[in-house]
Amino acid sequence: MSSGAETAPLVSAIVILYNQGHFARATIESVLAQDYQPVEVIVVDDGSTDDTAAICAGFGDRITYLRQPNAGAGAARNTGMRHACGALLAFLDGDDIWEPGKIGAQVNAARAHPDAGVIVVDGVKFEDETVLAPTLYFGPVQQHFAERGGTEMITECYEELLQRYLIHSPSQIMIRREVFSRVGPWDARIRVSSDYELMLRIGGAGYPFVFLADALIRYRIVASSLSGPADLREFTWGLDGFLVFRAHAAFADRRHCAMIVERLRGMTRSLARRAYYHGERFDRSWSRRYLVRLAVRSRRPHLVISYLVAAMLPSWIVELASRVISRPRRRSAPLHDVRSER
């Protein structure tokens, strides 16, 4: 009798789509074209109002098509997981593309490292036919591969993750189903950065992450996506970061909670400063609105108020005041903002 462990494990590919009908065909085809088998393809339509449903219907029973009222990426991935039968789950956002060897490489890595919780592949940024950046890695992961080479890196990176997110896109990751049994599903309350929050829980539960050096996904750069216009995305992500860390603080121990508090304080300061200067250059009314939201969301209005006042006063007063009080600026320790690298 054949035991399941000896045969190739079933991989569930969970594709989420939200008004991405024009990219959906290429995205889904990139899953169906995987070298590795068996892969079950679960497509979750997060309440699209375009032709997504018709395009998915064109794939017939090669995919499982699920539709839900719009509820966000995390909720859509949860819906997909509830119908997934695989022991390994891989996620794909509707505008990204997998290279044919992507799943195979991750399955091999998952077999080689049975204790690893997450397998991450590298990728390229692209727009139409042009590659804009040859890697999606940054920070310590990029540094590791640049300095030491190699094809993979296995690391317990929880504290690193508390400082900054290491993964560019959910389309890069494969997660064992057992991991979700330990840490729970995606947090549907977080609309944009639910992947960061999940990775914090997985890292916090002590699972190592495997990073593979090969670029096996194509991350599409679009002017406007879930995260909003490209030039303001870091600010949107910044606000989402507060939700991420607040949700995560419930799981963290005392020492890591202190790190989180420190991180939130730093994020508030840095976002307030950058929003203020962005506003001075482009749109002051935008920066005023943003600073009010930041003051509320961060629950640290005292760190935001001076920038807000400055953004409200006529420019010439601010100019004058800054000349009068031209003291050398004290700078806090270098801070990394949520996804400022993106």
Partner: protein, 311 residues
């Protein structure tokens, strides 16, 4: 080899749909001739249609039996009566087995020469679980979960926390012919969480000298809705379990009694009250308290039944 997968269900068409979806994807060898038997326990929802739709698509026979007496034990017994297999595999309607579940279970049954096997039951949380729950494997028992990761032979009295629940239990029909089926006075009915029917069956199997094996490779996932991530749920569960144990357990020792209940029972309830007062927020103490309370209520009910029987 003929195998019947039996699922008792009550008013959970959507979950049942997912369970059937995962079942029809089971990878089994060609020598296994298997079927799915759904025991419909007074469902007034979409259940018949869900079963019908599954029967149309599935490559294995899917049948449905109706059991009107409320209770999971009645439903499982009805499925046993309707099933054709010489091996019976039980899952619940809130379970999703891994695609290798059935094949692995049959393999373990053969290789270990076992009469009853079961395995890991891991949670599939509806929402991220609170930290007090996610990090505490002890609470898994109350959610019908089992996370022990070593293979074990069970003994009676139970040596450790390892148990086999009805959410993933594979047993030979010959075994049930010998020791009997599920005890209908135990098991969830409607709103009451009276439990213990699985432990009761396994006790009988072990006392008959048969072999019961827990194998973590037999893996299923158990849906945990957000209501079960609250403390209240654990209180109710413990209360129901203790009540069932008192009603169906060994007769209580004789001794001085007050209002039909032995005196020591009042003492231990008082002790739990005091411990709870010391740390009212500790879930462990709350659970201990509701355990004592459930025992007392159970004994009281049993005493009433015995008195009326004596008359």
């Amino acid at each position: 080899m003929r195998v019947s997968v039996c699922i008792p269900t009550h008013q959970r068409a959507r979950l049942l749909d997912r369970a059937l979806e995962a079942l029809v994807q089971q990878k089994v060898g060609p020598e296994v001739d298997w079927e799915i038997v759904v025991a419909n326990n007074n469902c007034t929802d979409d259940t018949p249609r869900v079963v019908g739709r599954c029967a149309e698509r599935a490559i294995v026979p899917v049948s449905q039996v109706f059991e009107t007496r409320p209770g999971v034990s009645y439903a499982r017994n009805a499925a046993i009566a309707a099933a054709k297999g010489e091996i019976l595999a039980f899952v619940d309607d809130d379970i999703r087995p891994e695609d290798s579940w059935l094949a692995t279970a049959l393999d373990t049954l053969e290789r270990e020469g076992a009469d009853l096997v079961g395995g890991r039951i891991l949670p599939e949380w509806e929402v991220p679980p609170p930290a007090w729950l996610a990090t505490n494997d002890e609470l898994y028992d109350y959610l019908g979960l089992m996370a022990v990761s070593e293979r074990r032979r069970l003994t009676y009295p139970f040596a450790d926390r390892t148990r086999i629940w009805g959410g993933s239990m594979i047993v030979r029909r010959s075994t049930l012919d010998r020791v009997g089926v599920f005890n209908v006075s135990l098991g969830r009915t409607g709103t009451r969480l009276l439990q213990g029917e699985e432990s009761d069956l396994i006790r009988r199997v072990l006392q008959a000298g048969l072999v019961v094996v827990y194998d973590p490779a037999i893996l299923v996932y158990h849906w945990v809705p957000r209501e079960r991530m609250r403390r209240r749920y654990f209180w109710r569960w413990v209360f129901g379990y203790a009540e069932g144990k008192a009603i169906n357990g060994p007769p209580r020792p004789a001794g001085r009694s007050l209002l039909g209940l032995p005196l020591w029972m009042y003492r231990s309830l008082l002790r739990q009250c005091l411990r709870l007062a010391g740390a009212p927020l500790s879930l462990r103490r709350q659970i201990d308290f509701f355990w004592e309370l459930g025992l007392m209520v159970g004994w009281h009910k049993r005493a009433q039944v015995e008195r009326s029987a004596a008359r």
